[in-house]
């Protein structure tokens, strides 16, 4: 069960806003987290506590493919991101590194900055403890649940490679 307070943002929060490119000369997660969201919200990194949740409207994470974006969010203590929709590459990256994302337009509409949320990832249930409301997130496709269950794409692939030694190296045509 995840529990934390909400940071709320609007539409099209891009990866340059999540982690500006001027900080991409390093790849250490905690170094990146120090600058997370700073161009649109200077307070974010001062106030974010472990378990807190980002809630945004549509197309969250649009722009570049930098995995530094979900890495910075995760390392800043954020336990999950809830949005009406996510940009495609950001979605993949977050799932691959184990940052939970939930798609729920109702939860976004029914949540304000500072509200306290409790999230059960297994059932996709989002409880707004401040407002006393409960929302449901869209279920993950089965294939993606496999990656999430394994703890990310690397762990998922390690298991796959172990099981199928023969497929370890693909023959060069």
């Amino acid at each position: 069960m995840l529990k934390g307070h909400v940071f709320k943002y609007g539409a099209n929060v891009d990866t340059d806003a999540i982690i500006p490119a001027r900080y991409l000369n390093v790849s250490d997660p905690y170094e990146l987290a120090r600058h997370c969201m700073e161009d649109i919200d200077l307070d974010f990194i001062k106030k974010a506590k472990p378990g807190d949740v980002i809630v945004a409207t549509s197309n969250f994470g649009c722009g570049s493919s930098r995995e530094h974006a979900p890495i910075a969010i995760k390392a800043s203590g954020i336990s999950a991101v809830i949005a009406k929709s996510f940009a495609r590459i950001f979605f993949r990256n977050a799932i691959n590194i184990g940052l939970p994302l939930l798609e729920s337009p109702e939860a976004v509409e029914g949540t304000d900055a500072g509200d306290e949320l409790e999230i059960d990832l297994a059932s996709g249930t989002i409880k707004n403890l401040t407002k006393g409301k409960t929302f449901k997130a869209a279920a993950y496709p089965e294939f993606m649940s496999g990656i999430i269950k394994a703890g990310g794409l690397i762990e998922y692939t390690r298991e796959r490679l172990k099981k199928n030694i023969g497929a370890k190296t693909t023959k060069v045509a």
Binding site: N12, D14, D16, A17, P20, A21, R22, L24, N25, V26, S27, D39, I40, S58, N59, C62, G63, S64, S65, R66, E67, H68, P70, I71, S85, A87, R88, I89, R92, N93, N96, I97, P141, F143, G152, L153, I154, T157, R158, R160, L161, A167, K168, T169, T170, V172
Partner: protein
């Protein structure tokens, strides 16, 4: 099946695929750069596999912060270099390198029919060749480097048909900006964009690369063109591999079809702070600018410099701004030099740089101060994209950029 479905089905070893279906597909090219490769290499090493699946199919290009701008970026480039040498993959050192999405097709590493994945969102550029090319993150690329395959959800496709003949000074950049202005930055979210019509048939490869490049700016997974004779000839002149040409079926299904008559299209400009905030240049109003950047994976090709040179030759850059021109590759640089464009740029008062992504992402070589405005031929104008969060970026094609560099404000090349 449409174009995207045909290419994906072939790489998944299936006769048929449909939107929404999860597939595992074999890749032809795996790409990463100096920002994304260090993380991909770190994740690759966790997989416990010593060697990449096929070094010939992996391309590493240090281009974002190269020539290295500081110690930290030099350390990142070093990780890339050492991994590339140890694994024997395709690697382009500073001096041979260019912007990844300018050199891969230029060097014949991507051809029609390929499936390309890259840890860079503008990997979609190669759709111009009739390849399915899409951006992913570093972890996806780590797995692709190890296994040679990727998981993918087959996207729905939106078809765009452009009729009419393009007016002078209107090119691929204007078509794609206009399109993003029409559908929005998430107008093609998760979808493939398929570009066709008379204006596309007549468009140069350079213009097609520019359009495919910005498919991601509409949220698209890929921006695809049918590989006509122009595309096939382009690849044949550069690669020993044989192009595979896929064509959409006449009864192929599309999520939507948009038709635009572009015979009277004006040059387009995207205003801050979204690539969809697009107006025809005549409606932009008085915008005085501090900097012009001509270059990037969007508009750093020979033809772009040709357009810029045709306007800048014999003129002077306005004394209130600086104009930075960055050829996208060493090859482009050399051809522009031989054609006399570099001389024309320098005589006009432009700064000309070695290839780099540099200013486009606010890395180096042209960072903006608070309150400054820049007109760039790049692809994104998000808040803080090119420097200070209080600076502004306007996007346009090379003709508007060159004319504006002379005028000191955003103007039509016709003026």
């Amino acid at each position: 099946m449409n174009l995207a479905e045909k290419i994906l089905a072939a790489h998944a070893g299936k006769d048929h695929v449909a939107p929404g279906e999860f597939i595992s597909a074999k890749v032809d090219v795996v790409l990463a750069n100096d920002i994304t490769a260090p993380i991909a290499i770190r994740e690759f090493q966790k997989l416990g596999q010593d060697k990449v699946f096929d070094p010939k199919k992996i391309v590493l290009v240090p281009d974002h912060f190269v020539p290295n701008k500081d110690i930290a970026s030099a350390e990142q480039a070093k990780i890339l270099r050492e991994f590339a040498r140890a694994q024997g993959v395709n690697y382009f050192e500073c001096g041979q390198m260019g912007i990844e999405h300018v050199i891969l097709h230029e060097k014949g590493l991507v051809i029609p029919g390929d499936l390309v994945v890259g840890a860079d969102s503008h990997t979609c550029t190669y759709g111009a060749l009739g390849a399915f090319a899409t951006g992913m993150g570093s972890t996806d690329i780590a797995v692709a480097m190890a296994t040679g395959d990727v998981w993918m959800k087959v996207p729905p496709t939106i078809k765009f048909v452009y009729s009419g003949k393009l007016p002078k000074y209107v090119g691929g950049k204007d078509l794609i900006l206009y399109t993003i202005g029409q559908i929005g930055v998430d107008g093609a979210l998760y979808a493939a964009m398929e570009f066709s019509g008379e204006a596309i048939d007549n468009l140069s490869m350079s213009g097609r690369f520019t359009m495919a490049n910005m498919a991601i700016e509409a949220g698209g997974k890929a921006g695809l063109f049918f590989a006509d004779k122009k595309a096939v000839d382009y690849a044949r002149n550069r690669s020993k591999r044989s192009p595979v040409v896929f064509e959409a079926d006449a009864d192929a299904a599309y999520q939507a079809i948009h038709e635009y008559d572009v015979s009277r299209l004006e040059p387009q400009v995207a205003l801050p702070h979204l690539p969809s905030n697009v107006k025809p240049v005549s409606q932009v109003g008085q915008v005085f600018i501090d900097q012009v950047v001509i270059g990037s994976c969007t508009n750093g090709r020979f033809e772009d410099l040709q357009v810029a040179a045709s306007i800048l030759k014999g003129k002077k850059v306005n004394s209130n701004l600086r104009c930075i021109i960055i050829p996208g590759s060493q090859q482009v640089y050399l051809e522009a030099l031989r054609a006399g464009y570099i001389e024309a740029f320098i005589e006009a008062g432009c700064a000309v740089s070695t290839p780099t992504c540099g200013p486009c992402l606010g890395g180096h070589m042209g960072i903006l101060a608070a309150g400054e405005k820049c007109l760039a031929t790049t692809n994104r104008n998000f808040i803080g994209r090119m420097g200070s969060p209080r600076s502004e970026v306007y996007l346009a094609g090379p003709a508007v950029a060159a004319a504006s560099a002379v005028a000191g404000k955003i103007v039509s090349p016709e003026s």
